[in-house]
Amino acid sequence: MNSPLKNIVESLIFVSQEPLTLERIQAVLEGVPAADIQAAVDELVADTAADDRGVQVVHVGGGWLFSTKPAFDREIRRLLQIERKNRLSSAGLETLAAIAYRQPMTQSEVSAIRGVDSTSSLKTLLEKSLIKIVGRKKAPGNPLVYRTSAEFLLYLGLNSLDELPSEEEIAKILQEEKAADA
């Protein structure tokens, strides 16, 4: 279907510097009902997911943005002359997960959950902008308080913290581990 609304939305998502939310699109397209915009975005997501497209619109970080399809990672890295992107270390990922679930958190709270001093992992995560300092805790020593950042959601392809693995998913993993041991 040839929908001009879908085209406008596509161009807006393309130029947006961060995931483009429904609210932003509405603010730009004054008077267009949210339902129409949502329908246009849905159509766009479906179109770009098709096999004959190399670039797709994905829903992430609470909004939409363009990304390449995973199949072309090798060629893109060749073009940009970038090595395979590094994963986080296990220490880094653990620290990030602890903060994600229990934020806001201080260094000593994170370290207590992990049973390991987490100062240097926090540093790495700060440098990668996956967490941010949001202030201080009213507690002895007024320790700095950390939260996950908007980049964190993007990094893991989440739309909000609600999309973190649920209690059920975690319980399932633990069940599987138990079964594997038996």
Binding site: F14, V15, S16, Q17, E18, V58, L65, F66, S67, T68, K69, P70, D73, I76, R84, K85, R87, L88, S90, A91, L93, E94, L96, A97, A98, Y101, S108, S111, A112, I113, R114, G115, V116, D117, L126, S129, K132, I133, V134, G135, A139, P140, G141, P143, L154, Y155, L156, G157, L158, L164, P165, E169, I170, I173, L174, E177, D181
Partner: protein, 264 residues
């Protein structure tokens, strides 16, 4: 004050070889993220019910692993030792003669169990998040698209406290390059810490150990504090009360110890 002095180590030949270890029997400590990871590993390998941990046995296994350490650095060692001290503490609590059976919420192991369960959840979540990370790494997004036109008058700014502070202190460092002080962790001796603790106890009569712990920051310092308190309690100079493990420890100086010289 080593763990070996507290508990004689018996060889347990039934420790399973670990897949990660090339030498078969040698399991290196550094394959574990930390002491909790090691504990969870032992619990799994021994098929132990996490809600009913045989503390004596697990403590023995745990100390054994610690004993095999080859080259872990001091910070890590301190963390493993800290949990060793806690295990021993729980064991001692369980050995105390009691009038009646412990109710479940009084089980000295409960807080350790809660903590292990919590950590286990984080680890399980990590395995899911790792998959997400792997999937996302393959998708390239264009986060930077040059703005189409010049600056407008009023713009919201993205500002990070970390960037701001880092910027300031780097600038100051640059300016006074010669007189730069290097900040290192203090060397904390038991003697100094003991004096400090006793002084503080005299002044305030009671200290909240966790509060004290947080103020001291470095793990070594905290460990030393912990051992000092154990030492004070052992030598009957102080009374320490902890309602729940990992909660807070309140410490009083015994009245009759006020004038004694506690430093031999």
């Amino acid at each position: 004050m080593t763990e070996g002095a507290v508990i004689p180590l018996e060889p347990t030949p039934d420790v399973p070889p670990c897949a990660e270890a090339p030498e078969g029997y040698q399991v290196r400590l550094d394959v574990f993220e930390g002491p909790l990871d090691l504990l969870l590993f032992l619990i799994r390998k021994k098929k132990i019910d996490i809600h009913d941990i045989p503390i004596a046995a697990i403590t023995r296994n745990y100390l054994e692993y610690l004993d095999r350490k080859t080259e872990i650095n001091l910070d890590r060692e301190a963390e493993f030792l800290f949990v060793a001290a806690l295990l021993i503490y729980i064991k001692s609590q369980m050995l105390l003669p009691r009038e009646t059976d412990l109710a479940e919420h009084e089980d000295p192991r409960q807080v350790l169990v809660n903590r292990l369960l919590e950590y286990q959840k984080v680890k399980a979540a990590c395995s899911i998040l790792r998959e997400r990370e792997d999937a996302q790494i393959l998708q390239w997004k264009r986060n930077f698209i040059p703005p189409l036109h010049g600056e407008s008058e009023l713009e919201p700014v993205e500002l990070s406290l970390f960037d701001l502070s880092e910027s300031f202190f780097l600038m100051m460092k640059r300016r006074s390059a010669d007189e730069t002080r290097t900040i290192r962790g203090r060397d904390v001796s038991v003697e100094v810490k003991m004096k400090e603790l006793v002084g503080l106890l005299r002044e305030r009569h009671m200290i909240d150990f966790l509060e004290y712990f947080e103020a001291n920051a470095s793990l070594e310092e905290a460990l030393v504090s912990f051992f000092c308190i154990l030492e004070l309690v052992k030598s009957r100079m102080a009374v320490a009360v902890q309602d729940e493990l990992f909660q807070t420890i309140r410490v009083w100086l015994r009245k009759d110890a006020h004038r004694t010289d506690h430093h031999e």
